[in-house]
Symmetry: C2
Subunit: 362 residues, 2 copies
């Protein structure tokens, strides 16, 4: 028997990413028979009462977990965060208005590119010249800015806003890789969006949270499907929503709630991250790639001091069942994604591989 195949797998993929085992069990059960209907969830109408209940629960769990009040609308759309890069300015930024952007990585840069199609896009901060190793801070936001766009966690580079800036301007924030991972002060945000496939569910659904007073300030013509108002009026069911991805996302939110909510997630995420960063900092073979104060609790990036050892270490990880450790192609090295659903035990397995590898190679 091949031990690589039979060993328990530890899922460090950056996204689509690990989901809680109990969520996967319920998702599997629903593909056989959903809600006692005698039909699979894959073949039922989105207007059937059991699915309408799922959609409503997904909205209410989002509000409860993030502490949203009635100022906010919650939508479940498709197209990923990549579609919000243009839909946010299309819906929120007047042609003569200015949006400020902080360029903290690959995804910020893509958002900046799209914003320029709709209004003035003012890049007020950037760590691009430093290979995105840190999160810029203490920059000025000009008056009359419509919003400040941030990427809360940079999946590729492994940096994260530990604190969101204090400003009078509403934040529009891509939280694709750290939604539901910690408490946030919702009063700072005019809009939050995320692709599901890191901390919220499987690929195929996009969460959009928008404060109502951000809307209806543009006069451009917007195709029906791209207008947030369309989906608000129809409770995310103007057209057929992605039924199964929404269901699994709802199950994952239930799991977050049952496990203490986002505050409890933050405690566990901090423990897991410190376990791994401590090993990176104390192990003679490894080093982190980002500014220590901006280290992501979701995506831990590191390299080996001797790059020639990297393929050998990757093999050792694979042999131990650690999957998805290879760094993003644009950065190299390693990236361990340790989202909400990642058990501390799996992080310990990786840490043990690092320790063993040092014992054998130092």
């Amino acid at each position: 028997m091949d031990t690589v195949i039979t060993k328990k797998k530890h899922n460090f993929f950056a996204g689509p990413a690990i989901l809680p085992a109990s969520v996967l069990e319920q998702a599997t059960a629903a593909t056989k028979d959903f809600a006692g209907m005698g039909l699979s969830i894959l073949e039922i109408s989105h207007r059937s009462a059991p699915f309408v209940a799922v959609l409503n629960e997904a909205v209410s769990l989002t509000k409860e977990l993030l502490g949203l009040d009635d100022r906010f609308e919650v939508l479940f759309l498709t197209g990923g965060a990549s579609s919000q890069f243009y839909m946010a300015p299309m819906n929120l930024l007047p042609s003569t208005g200015t949006a400020c952007y902080s360029d903290t990585g690959t995804w910020s840069a893509k958002a900046i590119k799209e914003a320029g199609l709709f209004g003035n896009c003012n890049v007020v901060a950037s760590s691009k010249e430093s290979s995105y190793k840190f999160i810029p801070k203490n920059y000025d936001i000009p008056k009359d800015t419509t919003y400040l766009h941030l990427t809360s966690n940079n999946t590729v580079f492994g940096t994260q806003h530990q604190v969101f800036p204090d400003t009078n301007v509403p934040l529009v924030c891509d939280m694709s890789s750290d939604i539901f991972s910690r408490p946030i002060d919702i009063n700072k945000f005019g809009m939050i969006y995320c692709g599901a496939q890191k901390n919220m569910g499987p690929a195929g659904v996009t969460l959009v949270i928008v404060r109502k007073d951000m809307l209806n300030k543009v006069d451009r013509t917007i195709p029906t499907m791209l207008d947030y108002n369309t989906h608000i009026k129809k409770d995310s069911a103007f057209n057929t929503p992605p039924v199964f991805p929404i269901y699994v996302s709802m199950l994952t939110m239930r799991w977050v709630k049952e496990n203490g909510g986002v505050a409890a997630m933050a405690v566990k995420n901090e423990e897991k991250a410190q376990l791994l960063y401590n090993e990176i900092d104390s192990n003679p073979l490894f080093e982190g790639t980002t500014a220590i104060e901006d280290r992501s609790r979701m995506n831990v990036t590191f390299v080996m001091k001797d790059p020639e050892l990297e393929p050998v270490f990757l093999e050792a990880c694979t042999a131990a069942g650690c999957m998805g450790i290879k760094g993003h192609r644009s950065v190299g090295g390693f990236r361990a994604s340790i989202y909400n659903a990642m058990p501390k035990e799996s992080v310990q397995v990786l840490v043990d591989v690092m320790k063993d590898f040092a014992n054998q190679n130092v």
Copy 2:
């Protein structure tokens, strides 16, 4: 025990709709462990080799089943057919160009509304004044038309193009509810699109087939995610695609192929439709709602001559395990959707309910 709950269910939902039993079994298995990876398909990277193989197979099966040659690109996107209502003219119709539309129902009308945002939208045919009971034929297409847009099957009203018009203009066709249900002459088409959730798979993925020479004729600025070229260049993986909906769609296409391809589907679909239409025509209680020559083989719409009996008949259907029979809210009466995956035996169950009901009520 309640017989409604325990009886085998016959899924007549209009969409999301019935999927083949063997596809549901494989989908369920993959939510536990996909391709021997030791992980669920819901939590694996879209760049992992097993999923890249799925995406490639979905493209090649689409080409094989529909007889597409190298003139065509095949994309798996999101946003449903509703998003193609604006993406098609955005990508294909120059601002000074004219597209012709045939208005054959709810979805055609929505497509017409969006096309007008991008160029001249010329509605060359319509059955709106006749409550969309038939498919208009023998209309003129002006010279210099960029494309003629059709809805091949009208899910709400139960009509279907049995023949596509002969014209020198390329057809752009919404085939959401009859893709893979019959052979088509691909030479007539410049673009075909469909939401998956009727004949192709679960909700959450959209198939777009576009002939290359239709592209690059517009000079408007298109956001990156809305440009077909973006997704062509990246083989539908520019951003994270909807992994699971694509997987289940691929399984469904495999099932179509294993069961004889679209020609064999057409034979079975014709048999099922005739079985049901024969009962509607011969049963004294029922009548069809559309022109006989335009009757859909996918969505069979009918009413009762005595509308007061309709709720009683609906109860009889439910008691027999027939689900999703109630007509669309805009039409009333009944609609039995009998897509590829619907077994003839289930249609027979519905026919038997109709016969029994007539015996008891005439």
